[in-house]
Amino acid sequence: MEGGLVLLGGGNGDASSRVSTDESAVLPKVEVVSEACSSYPAESELELGLGLSLGWGGGATGKSKGANSSWGECGRILTAKDFPSVVSQRTNNGGPSGTKRAAESVSHESGSPTGASQVVGWPPIRAYRMNSLVNQAKAQRGDEGDSGIVEKDKPKDALKKKLNCNGKQTTVNEKGHLGFVKVNIDGIPIGRKVDLNAHSSYESMAHALEDMFLRSANSVEKEPLTMASKLLDGSSEFVLTYEDKEGDWMLVGDVPWRMFVSSVRRLRIMRPSEANGLGMKCTSKTYSENQ
């Protein structure tokens, strides 16, 4: 059907060409305009006016809601379908650039992190079970006389307290005994997680983060740990920040490592322009003092 459609240059792996051949053999040609809405490559700046309707080379960009028939329109509502392609972009540097399209469009348009919580019917848990969980959480919060502060920690603390009413103190910290905290980097909605228990210093953690975010997945060489992390000494284009227990955002490295580990809730790798107001940047000398 959409066999008559012009395909995006450089954006379609073999699969798409296979598709279009099949299609033109099987289906009558159809007005192409209405199909253009299906995918909005972010390189749309370059390729406005073209669109691929079916089976592109990569990425899990499904149909887009709210898309209309205008050519090369970028204004579509992002759905969870975009996420896999974002991740695959980072992991599949050599892959079909079809993946990149959706990924970049996501990075341009999305501001907030997205994950399992924003997709209809996902994770696949029966409505009945979800209602039970919600009722359970409500019951817990109700019992604890919650003041209504909408902190995500609260219900879990309440639950844990209730479960330990035999008087034993548990040492489960707010992150759970795994020690994982979520890390987001500006420009990519899906975050990663880093296990703080696996590190004993800022340098070690920063190197891990750099490996995770700022290097190609296939890179084999790793800088020796003795070299100062670019993230920490200010020579990187990014700045490492964290949210503490009180909800304040701070520059990483201000406090001793142990204190940091016990108070950090999550991390964010920011662009310097957004890090204004977080205080002076620390030098690497400060880090070694604080370890």
Partner: protein
């Protein structure tokens, strides 16, 4: 036994074709075939020859209909005159996750009307994902004097008033099993509708309901139904009330407690513990809402012969679970919440060598911020300790290819492998690679695999593996995966035993859809939502395959040409006439 008898019968039929009427009476054949229980065996038998077809249809007493729209009640009644038990499944499975419009269909009423006329002696009705109204329940209650067993799983459209009708009118009821339904819970008075003279109940499951029931009525009911073997209470029943019930029903084989949290005196606790331990036949335990460490020990003595423990409504921690499992050496099936974490699962591996099924549900599926729950380590730990594991449903936030490879090496007998990495499209968190190799390992190693749910970042390679190796796969669920049509084409081109394929949010389009033309007739159904299928592709499919019903559900505001949700299924009843306006039949 059955197969050798059948073989002999078949040989004798074939060898004396002309004399068959005198040498092999139909009654004998019917008698032999009546011993066949499996509906698949019966389907095979009915294809042998005309005589066998007839003998089979006259001897069949239970009919299983996996898709209520694949056949009409009239056709069923015409073919099988002596049915006493019916199992019907309706909506596509993704309706459980709110992906199917409210009024989609699968209403039982038309079936009941035909059954009332053709099967007045109907005894059992088991429904899954059907719509059933209170009027239908009342009609059921008064139309079938011999009615014995009603089981409703994941159904909707009814309220407790309908249950009241069943309780009031079904004098011979042995089973009332209400599970995980969208029921309108108006109040608990329905339970008081069982007459004083009523004593036949064997199975009572109302765990689904939330409102208070009249405990006095329940206590009397349990007291006079001496054959009761399954009792699953709802949250409103307290520990103290549980104890009173158990004292009168020590014969229970399956128990679902109510709320497992209450202030008890020492004496009350001991009485509870004693009542529980007196249930010597108990092999299944569930309920346990809000169970805490304090009262779990009351269960210890009752767990000795336990084979199925459902803790999926109790947010236990690892230590509590470990202590409990030490008393459950016979456990074969375990359902838990991921609050038990990897340490809890290590305890599973250590204490439950006979374990065959494990389900780990997320306590907090929508909280991305704080990480907790289980990881690949927990799953691996279970696989080392439980080599007989063959059914797994595992919700987690991280997984690696290496871990899955280890798991299936330890447990090669998987028949059901359902892995849900909750963040859509997430790669192997250590190597950053897609999870292709994980599922490749699963399908290569687990040759008995019947059901597979995949997740995480997956390219078409996963589907190449599935198509190539999963020879026994019957059900495949895919979400946020694949790169191109090729993936789906691999599955449709391989997997000879595929019956159900459900796909959401994948880049599969018309080429993929149309590559399975012949395949769909050997399948029960195909679901594709939020993929790249268009209306024209669906129309073509419908045109080419007259025995398939092709239904498209459109969403508000979507493009006219996109087929947002597609449901394709084979049917001998033709297109259905009860579809709501949002469902287009092509």
């Amino acid at each position: 036994m059955e197969s050798s008898e059948l073989k002999r019968s078949k040989d004798s039929v074939n060898s004396c074709e002309s004399a068959r009427r005198s040498s092999f009476p139909d009654e004998v054949l019917e008698r032999v075939l009546s011993l066949l229980k499996s509906h698949r065996d019966r389907s095979s038998v009915s294809l042998v020859c005309k005589d066998w077809y007839n003998a089979e249809r006259w001897s069949r007493t239970h009919v299983f209909i996996g898709n209520c729209y694949s056949v009409s009640p009239e056709i069923v009644a015409r073919r099988f005159p002596r049915i006493r038990s019916v199992t019907l499944k309706g909506k596509p499975r993704f309706s459980d996750f709110n992906l199917v419009p409210e009024n989609w269909g699968a209403d039982i009423h038309a079936w009941l009307v035909v059954f009332a006329a053709e099967y007045p002696f109907l005894e059992e009705l088991r429904l899954k994902r059907m719509a059933i109204s209170d009027e239908s329940l009342e009609f059921l209650a008064v139309s079938f004097p011999n009615f014995k067993a009603l089981s409703l799983l994941s159904c909707d459209g009814f309220s407790t008033n309908g249950l009241a009708a069943i309780a009031t009118h079904c004098k011979n009821l042995t089973e009332l099993d209400i599970q995980e339904n969208g029921i309108d819970d108006i109040g608990g008075s329905w339970l008081s509708c069982f007459p004083e003279s009523f004593t036949t109940l064997e199975v009572l499951n109302f765990a689904n309901l939330t409102s208070d029931i009249n405990f006095d009525a329940l206590e009397k009911l349990v007291g006079r139904c001496k054959s009761m073997r399954v009792l699953k209470l709802n949250r409103s029943v307290s520990l103290e009330q549980l104890q009173r019930l158990l004292v009168n029903a020590p014969q229970l084989a399956e128990l679902g407690t109510g709320l497992f949290s209450q202030e008890l005196t020492i004496r009350e606790y001991e009485e509870l513990e004693s009542a529980l331990s007196n249930c010597k036949n108990m092999h299944t335990l569930s309920g346990l809402w809000d169970a805490t460490g304090i009262y779990l020990p009351a269960l210890y003595l009752a767990c000795t012969h336990l084979t199925f423990l459902n803790l999926s409504y109790a947010a236990l921690q690892s230590v509590e679970l470990a202590k409990l499992l030490a008393h459950c050496p016979q456990l074969k099936r375990l359902w838990v919440l991921d609050t038990v974490e990897d340490k809890g699962l290590e305890a599973v591996g250590l204490n439950c060598p006979l374990l065959e099924e494990l389900r780990v549900f997320p306590a907090d599926p929508f909280d991305d911020e704080i990480v907790h729950g289980v990881t690949e380590a927990g799953f691996v730990a279970v696989s080392f300790g439980c080599p007989r594991l063959h059914y797994v449903l595992y919700f987690c936030r991280q997984m690696t290819n290496a871990a899955v490879a280890t798991i299936v090496q330890n447990c090669p007998d998987f028949t059901h492998f359902r892995l849900c990495i909750m963040n859509p499209g997430q790669p192997d968190y250590l190597t950053n690679e897609p999870m292709d190799e994980a599922f490749g390992a699963v399908v290569r190693t687990c040759t008995k695999l019947q059901r597979l749910s995949v997740s995480g970042l997956l390219t078409d390679l996963t589907f190449e593996y599935i198509g190539r190796y999963a020879k026994n796969l019957e059900t495949l669920s895919v979400a946020f995966a694949g790169r191109s049509d090729w993936g789906m084409q691999c599955v449709l081109g391989g997997c000879p035993k595929l019956r159900k394929l459900e796909i959401r949010d994948c880049p599969f389009g018309n080429a993929a859809l149309l590559s399975g033309l012949e395949k769909y007739e050997s399948m029960r159904s195909l679901w594709m939502s939020a993929c790249n299928v268009t209306m024209n592709g669906c129309r073509l499919l419908a045109r080419e395959m007259p025995w398939l019903n092709v239904e498209v559900m459109k969403e508000d505001g979507s493009d006219d040409s996109q087929a947002d949700k597609v449901y394709v299924y084979r049917s001998i009843a033709g297109p259905r006439r009860d579809a709501p306006p949002s469902v287009l039949t092509l």
